[in-house]
């Protein structure tokens, strides 16, 4: 069972624009305006905008829930209660968001006036744009592109550029070091990340997330033949979204707050938000590429999207667990782990995928 988002919104928009607004305009004798509002092009544009708005709101809500899950679970790991405002502490994030929203907007004196405000816009824009390619179920998606896997990873590739610009524009040595570390790390870890995705693409024969999930529903979840690739992908993804074993760009003990030190107020809030938006996209990519996406017993009544969200939250639980359990990797070790451990493993995994494909086993 799934919700057909495009069909639902298209029907709603048609009903609103033609049957209600159109009738009122006809009654007012504004026939030309009514015809223009009811023309297919206008209806299509309004439908696209409404679907984009729904996808954005759902993605933001899931990201806020991820923040709540992280604060609550980290609290339990550290033997404290965690967030407390509202039922189960669910409203704490909204309270924090309002606090951040009303703070003063400060630009450091020495900052670059053009790039300093632009970098958070770039980061939040790219992170939000990644919601577009993530399908929640067979019908609930924004774009069913043939290239959605590579499109999502291309957007991940823009992040280091924006981070480096932001760290440089703040004109502070800690932000610059943080930006350098972030760019070096995310650029390096993209190689094993893309190689392990390539092995999935070799087996499924498609770059579309919907097709990858459909293949896994018919055959086998990719985590079974490609267990090495699964582990490499999770480790690279933790590094790509700068979470704790690999959070060198914002190592609190060394670099104040990393590349985001000089950003205050709502800019800080947006940068935090974009981090969790990327965490959402990253863990949903793990769920879609390796854990079968929305595959699961539905019994005719359970929505498919629920299975997808369940798997996504489980993957994020692994990220939180790693954050609570592991110490930070040293600066000189982080590239060793990437080039000497993960890259050979990803290459071996790719060979295994090609072997399985040529033998015709999966």
């Amino acid at each position: 069972m799934y919700l057909d988002l495009w069909g639902l919104v298209g029907g709603l928009v048609h009903w609103l624009m033609v049957d209600i607004v159109g009738t009122i305009l006809d009654w007012l004798h504004l026939y030309a305006l009514a015809d223009w509002l009811g023309s297919p092009g206008v209806l299509q544009i309004v439908t696209i905008l409404v679907v984009a708005l729904i996808i954005l709101i759902v993605g933001m809500l899931v990201s806020i829930t991820l923040i709540w899950q992280e604060r609550k679970m980290l609290g339990r790991f550290m033997d404290r209660v965690g967030t407390q405002v509202g039922p189960f502490g669910l409203f704490q994030n909204f309270a924090d968001a309002f606090k951040v929203l009303v703070k003063e907007y400060i630009v450091p004196n020495a900052a670059d006036r053009l790039i300093y405000p632009l970098a958070p816009i770039l980061i939040i824009g790219v992170s939000m744009a990644m919601f577009v390619t993530i399908p929640y179920s067979q019908g609930f998606y924004m774009s069913d592109s043939d290239l959605s896997v590579i499109l999502t990873l291309a957007m991940f590739g823009v992040i280091p550029f924006a981070v480096l610009l932001g760290g440089w524009a703040s004109n502070n040595k800690y932000t610059l070091i943080g930006g350098m570390r972030a760019a070096a790390q995310t650029c390096a870890y993209e190689v094993p990340l893309l190689l392990s995705v390539a092995s999935v693409v070799v087996l499924t024969g498609s770059l579309s997330l919907n097709d990858v999930v459909a293949y896994q529903q018919e055959n086998v979840w990719m985590v079974v033949p490609l267990i090495i690739g699964f582990l490499v992908f999770i480790i690279s993804m933790i590094s790509e979204i700068e979470r704790v074993p690999f959070d060198l760009p914002e190592a609190e003990a060394e670099l104040v707050e990393g590349w985001g030190t000089e950003y205050g107020g709502m800019r800080f809030g947006l940068i935090m938000m974009s981090e969790y938006a990327r965490a959402f996209v990253g863990s949903s990519l793990v769920a879609l590429l390796f854990l079968g996406g929305w595959a699961g017993p539905t019994f005719g009544i359970i929505p498919e999207g629920l299975w997808f969200l369940l798997k996504m939250f489980l993957v994020f639980t692994i990220f939180i667990w790693a954050r609570a359990a592991l110490p930070r990797v040293r600066t000189d070790q982080i590239l060793h782990i990437c080039w000497k451990r993960l890259l050979p493993l990803a290459a071996i995994n790719l060979f295994i995928a090609v072997f399985f494909k040529t033998m015709g086993w999966f």
Binding site: A110, D112, L114, I115, L118, S145, D146, L147, I150, L151, L153, A154, G157, V158, P160, F161, L164, L165, W168, A169, N171, K173, L176, M180, A183, A184, C187, E190
Partner: protein, 94 residues
């Protein structure tokens, strides 16, 4: 007979993208700060990717963004920042 000025939407989008790219390319040369030049150059790269998408080759456009924005411009920024230079208006070499 009156001349009807009509323009296809894809031509209009192309002209907007071309204007953005030309402005970016001029700004690359005009800006005093070299990091800003790289930023404008990245805008040109994104414009090229968008034109590839407009021409119907989405794969090439995505690869353009993945390679040029994700790797080449970061490489340029690294090259600029790791070599000896004055830090943004300071008189001290960093």
């Amino acid at each position: 007979m009156a001349v009807v000025w009509s323009i296809e939407w894809d031509v209009a989008v192309f002209f907007i993208l071309a204007a953005i790219m030309i402005i970016g390319a001029i700004a690359v040369i005009w800006s005093k700060e070299i990091v800003r030049s790289v930023m404008w150059l990245t805008m040109v790269f994104v414009g090229v990717g968008a034109i590839y998408v407009l021409l119907g080759s989405e794969y090439l456009g995505i690869i353009q963004i993945l390679v040029y924005v994700g790797a080449v411009s970061v490489l340029m920024l690294f090259g600029i920042m790791l070599t000896k230079r004055r830090l943004l208006g300071g008189d001290r070499y960093e």
